[in-house]
């Protein structure tokens, strides 16, 4: 369903780092033809970019299509207009998240980052494997260094990442 366009939307995207090349797209479809995700689903990269150009903000930000990209860069490498497709998708995702559109599973990953300083926590099972391989049970990074983890968490607070996770619609 097409919703009311927001004429400011494409301008905002173009003015965000990574979004500068949005207006260059002339809809040839090389991105769609190169996209492994589109080959396996009904996701169409070209269409997503067109909707963003037209300012169809809600269509773009609330569609599950926005999260079908694995950021493999096949489209960006082949684009004859130099459109930085993956970087634009990242800008669009940032905007969706700011509006509270995010999946529960992704919030979980974000919370791992807040709690552990890493998106994959280290548990006892793998601590034992590390030891068997002659490695320290916990490495010298945030996974094994409390002060480093505290610093890491302070940075996440300073950028407002903790608050961002609470804003789910």
């Amino acid at each position: 369903m097409v919703k009311e366009p927001n004429p400011q939307f494409a301008i905002e995207v173009s003015q965000t780092p990574g979004g500068e090349t949005l207006s260059l797209c002339f809809q040839c479809g090389t991105c769609t033809g190169s996209c492994p995700s589109g080959r396996l689903t009904s996701y169409r990269t070209r269409k997503l970019i067109r909707k963003a150009q037209l300012g169809l903000e809600k269509d773009v930000l609330e569609s599950p299509d926005l999260w079908m990209c694995t950021t493999c860069y096949a489209c960006q490498e082949r684009c004859p207009r130099g459109v930085e497709v993956v970087d634009i998708i990242n800008v669009l995702r940032n905007k969706a998240v700011k509006q509270g559109v995010m999946s529960g599973e992704h919030i979980k990953v974000g919370n791992y980052l807040l709690q552990n300083g890493a998106t994959v926590p280290l548990n006892e099972k793998y601590e034992a494997v590390r030891e068997e391989l002659g490695l320290s049970r916990r490495p010298a990074n945030v996974l094994g260094d409390k002060k480093a983890l505290e610093d890491f968490q302070k940075i996440l607070k300073a950028t407002g990442f903790d608050k961002l996770l609470e804003e789910k619609k």
């Binding site: 995700s37 999260w67 860069y73 990242n90 998240v97 999946s103 994959v120 945030v142 407002g160």
Partner: protein, 285 residues
């Protein structure tokens, strides 16, 4: 060999916390080729280019800058063993090392923890460093017993791409990994969709696991029908995706081996030190 530079090993999270064999193999191989590693003490998440960059670019850049600053303080360049870490840290360094305005914005955040990044750290990927500084010829010379195995090489995405800033190899028809793998004696098979993504990136594995599995099955089918016995990769996240998907999708029996583990085998490091037994689909040697 140009190994005068100091390299700080950036572990990331999937390698140390799920596939520690990759970390152990990297340390063994670096010792063998005379590459002295220092620890990147206190390093945090790279951060993950999938979910974290998708959520908030400013947070992504600030956390990456903290890691770059930690290396800078030691006078070291960063060595990564993961395409995801390489993607985030290389891209962040590319932005910050050439943009005073964004560097100063990031430093405002880093000042909260008494840190500053000056913009001098270089970020290297294990496979690329090996290719350029050790070279396939030396890999061949150091190989004790040529490996008698048939393999499918998987480059993954963020190792070579975006090629505009990485400038390592042709992203459509790359050769650098193939050349290192062939130097070990392994039979390197061509297969359909060799350059295709494993499916895990961009938050797809966590947010849409069915779609990620579809990608992986496409790859596994193509590798199997080409006659591969093993998958060779350079990324613990691709590694996890190939290994764990085979827990749910039976019938491929394709163990995955990280390049560091493959070189460990070729250089005569005992297989027990390379940690390939702990995988869902163990690689037995």
């Amino acid at each position: 060999m140009n190994l005068n530079k100091k390299y700080a090993l950036f572990l990331g999270c999937v390698a140390p916390a799920r596939y520690p064999g990759i970390e152990a193999a990297t340390r063994e191989v670096c010792k063998t080729v005379g590459l002295d590693l220092v620890e990147l003490e206190g390093a945090g998440c790279c951060p993950a280019p999938g979910v974290i960059k998708s959520f908030d670019q400013d947070t992504w850049l600030a956390i990456a800058a903290r890691n770059l600053a930690l290396a800078e303080k030691q006078g070291a360049d960063i060595l990564t063993i993961c395409n995801g870490c390489y993607g985030s840290l290389y891209d962040a360094a590319h932005i910050l090392n050439g943009d005073a305005e964004r560097l100063s914005a990031v430093n405002k955040i880093l000042s909260e923890v008494g840190m500053e990044y000056k913009g001098t750290t270089q970020v290297r990927h294990f496979a690329e460093l090996l290719y350029k500084e050790i070279t396939p010829e030396n890999v061949k010379a150091k190989t004790k017993t040529p490996l008698d195995i048939k393999v499918a090489v998987h480059y993954g995405c963020h190792f070579l791409k975006p090629s505009k800033i990485k400038e390592l190899d042709d992203p459509e028809r790359p050769r650098i990994l193939d050349e290192i793998v062939e130097a070990t004696g392994a039979t390197n098979l061509d297969y359909r969709d060799k350059q295709m993504c494993c499916g895990a990136g961009g938050g797809v594995r966590s947010g849409n696991p069915e779609l990620a599995t579809k990608f992986t099955v496409e790859k596994l089918k193509s590798m199997k029908s080409a006659g591969a016995q093993y998958i060779i990769d350079v990324c613990p996240f691709c590694h996890l995706q190939f290994d764990r998907t085979q827990k749910d999708v039976q019938g491929y029996d394709l163990p995955v081996i990280h390049l560091a583990q493959l070189l460990g085998l070729a250089f005569g490091v005992p297989a027990s030190k390379l940690g390939m037994d702990y995988q869902e689909v163990p690689a037995k040697f």
